[in-house]
């Protein structure tokens, strides 16, 4: 039981399709990702980035095809996700961070300690006892990062985590993501922001109309994109 909980890689998608009603969002995606490099899912709005990420995280079930974590079709536990809009419960900051640990079955004293440690790491220890929902958007996103970090995941998904933040708050979030990655956690993040992708990516999955147009190391992708879609995306000329 425990061994599967702590095993995520390789995370494989085998001929995965996802459709919502008539609309086909993800079409025949097959790929395998491994830790601990930082993978950026890049693509225009509507390319299917968020849906692909939810399929990887196990929040959505493929219409056809299969997702496997560590060779197992059952959703792995050692993963966490941070959403574009942080979801805060109507309680204090530290209780929000401890909530994920509570669901993971961790005892009261340990979860207080781990939540406090995670808050220190995101620089919010001084507001641990403030109600979470009255914080600024940037602070709430850092609480969400602390909540994910406290779980000590092997893989962290981030869905446009800075899209609704001002530049200062966005940089702070990027710094925290860098630290989480430095601790050995795999990062998978969607963005449509090229600058951010360049700053954070070790490898890039470039998505176009629900298909993987390119999956390459960041240095290769940014220097010499092979697909015409990626070339035009980087020129800012969307087809």
């Amino acid at each position: 039981m425990m061994s599967h909980d702590r095993c995520v890689f390789p995370l494989e998608l085998a001929d995965v399709c996802f459709a919502s009603g008539e609309q086909r969002i993800i079409e025949h995606v097959s790929l395998a990702i491994d830790g601990p490099v930082r993978t950026i899912i890049l693509g225009a709005n509507g390319a299917g980035k968020s849906v692909l990420m939810r399929l990887m995280h196990g929040l959505l079930t493929p219409t056809s095809g299969a997702v496997r974590w560590c060779g197992n079709p059952e959703r792995a536990a050692a993963q966490a996700m941070v959403f574009q809009r942080p979801i805060m419960l109507r309680t204090t900051v530290i209780e929000n961070v401890a909530y994920g640990l509570k669901l993971a079955g961790i005892g009261r004293d340990e979860r207080r300690a781990r939540a406090a440690a995670a808050l220190t790491k995101v620089g919010l220890a001084h507001i641990a006892d403030r109600p979470a929902r009255v914080l600024s958007g940037g602070e709430q996103q850092r609480v969400a990062l602390a909540r994910a970090w406290a779980l000590d995941p092997l893989i962290l998904f981030l869905d446009e985590p800075t899209a609704s933040l001002d530049p200062g708050a966005a940089l702070e979030v990027e710094r925290i993501i860098g630290e989480i990655a430095a601790g050995g956690c795999k990062i998978v993040m969607t963005t449509h922001n090229l600058g951010q992708a360049r700053r954070l990516a070790d490898e890039v999955i470039f998505l176009h109309h629900g298909r993987v147009a390119e999956y390459a190391p960041a240095s290769v992708f940014f220097a010499l994109p092979r697909s015409p879609e990626a070339v035009s995306f980087m020129k800012g000329e969307l087809p």
Binding site: L59, M81, M88, R90, G100, L103, A104, P131, V134
Partner: protein, 234 residues
């Protein structure tokens, strides 16, 4: 016009004097309706949350029934509970017909659908906002329901007070199953009905004033709590 002002004057005198019989009736009303709200909440809140979060066979039917029963006629509830509790009825052996307990049972049945339906709406709205985050953290539907109930506690409090308002104001069900027995099962609404027909307008009016005051006070508490909660917790 003279009757109204005279009666009102007499009524205020009754209230000011804190007359024993009046206080007794008011206390019984409050006790019965608060108990009904408590029991209805115990079942209605989890039911509402489960309807909001869960997906199970029969859910649609249950939704229609609960929404339909929000406006259940109180006399019909009274009649059904009467039949169940009457000596020949299936629960006749309990011997609780014409007691405050029977009145609590009737009011509980009356307001449970209202509380469940309001709770379902409140929790469903929160679920729309939270479900991805909660599922990402590994919450099963049962756990998610509890979290959402706690998180929407201030809105749910308002739903409970709506239930209290309906319970305290209804007359049909308590009249039938309580029997309006002097000193035993006489509550504000049944006394108002009886005293008005007997022509004792001051007592009826005094009770009417108290009833409205209680409902206003309860709603003031709800309003103030909500405003405080929004400022405190967002």
């Amino acid at each position: 016009m003279g009757t109204l002002t005279d009666s009102l004057y007499a009524a205020i005198e009754l209230i000011a004097a804190g007359e024993g019989k009046l206080a007794e009736i008011v206390m019984l009303s409050v006790r019965v309706s608060f108990s009904a709200v408590g029991i209805a909440a115990l079942f209605g809140l989890p039911l509402g949350a489960l309807l909001a979060v869960g997906r199970f066979p029969g859910r649609q039917v249950l939704l229609v029934v609960i929404n339909g029963f929000m406006g259940l006629p109180s006399v019909v509830v009274g009649l059904v509970v009467y039949l169940l509790l009457s000596r020949a009825g299936p629960l006749g052996s309990l011997g609780i017909l014409f007691t405050p307990t029977a009145m609590i049972v009737a009011q509980t049945i009356l307001i449970m659908p209202l509380i469940a339906a309001l709770a379902r709406q409140i929790v469903a709205d929160a679920w729309t906002e939270y479900h991805e985050q909660l599922r990402s953290l590994g919450a099963d539907p049962w756990r998610a329901s509890l979290t959402l109930l706690w998180d929407t506690r201030f809105s749910l409090f308002t739903a409970l007070l709506a239930g209290f308002g309906r319970a305290a104001a209804e007359v049909g069900a308590v009249m039938i199953v309580g029997g309006n027995i002097d000193g035993v099962t006489r509550v504000m609404t049944t006394t108002i009905a009886l005293e008005t027909s007997k022509g004792d307008l001051p007592l009826a009016l005094a009770l009417g004033v108290v009833l409205i005051a209680i409902i206003l006070a309860v709603n003031t508490i709800a309003h103030v709590t909500r405003r405080w909660a929004i400022r405190r917790y967002g």
